[in-house]
Symmetry: C2
Subunit: 142 residues, 2 copies
């Protein structure tokens, strides 16, 4: 599905209005290799764009299954674009996240196989997250 259809379909399905800001925001995620925080997003828009609007848009996008939260070194809210298999209110991410200690960016490692255990010592496991820390490909070769 291309970006325009994705926006059309999903925005319609969830009663989200296709405002200039939200369309731009979505494109920003689409064009970004990695994840984005509210502060980073803010820098990409004119100063008249309010942070409240950014936070509300991120929240809507997440609930609609367009983006998902990823871990952040400094405990900030940080998001990445979802793959197509993500359903609204039911993110189906089975990938690991990688925090680079050098550039501090967060990467989705889409092909890292997660352990599939559904329980452990009586604990019932619904979701499992793996967060790796280290040096990313790019920083390694600098």
């Amino acid at each position: 599905m291309d970006i325009q259809n994705l926006i059309d379909n999903t925005f319609k399905k969830y009663g989200l209005k296709k405002t200039i800001f939200r369309k731009e925001l979505f494109k920003l995620f689409y064009d970004s290799l990695n994840s984005l925080s509210a502060k980073e997003i803010s820098k990409q828009f004119s100063s008249s764009t309010d942070k409240a609007s950014i936070y509300r848009a991120l929240d809507s996008f997440e609930k609609s299954g367009l983006i998902h939260q990823v871990p952040d070194k400094n405990n900030l809210l940080r998001y990445s674009l979802c793959k197509s298999e993500c359903k609204p209110n039911n993110h189906a991410h089975d990938h690991a996240h990688f925090l680079c200690s050098v550039c501090e960016e967060t990467f989705c490692l889409d092909d890292f196989k997660l352990p599939s255990a559904k329980s452990h010592n009586g604990f019932l496991i619904n979701h499992l997250k793996i967060i790796m820390e280290g040096t990313c490909v790019r920083c390694k070769s600098i």
Copy 2:
């Protein structure tokens, strides 16, 4: 090693003073099955105990290898007692953490085997964290 020796040895080694508050704080961790946040700790002490003291003590304890940070549903700082194999400034935790969606507590799953990969697609992995979400043993049987 019993708690009194542990406090004596570690506090001495790191030049930490055995104040009434810090001894009580350490006991609180020792007696607690799970993890503690600053707010939860605050409730256990008189109102004259300042939050700055709590945060500073937690920071010292962590640096000394007595407690370690654990994940929290709401991105709060949250800590658990370390096992004896932890060294100061070099926490050696190879266990997974479990967040219960019912009681919202965090548990250390000491015997869950973590993947041991040291690299993945050119990403160099130094540390690896596993965070599980689901229903804990206790809540499951209620």
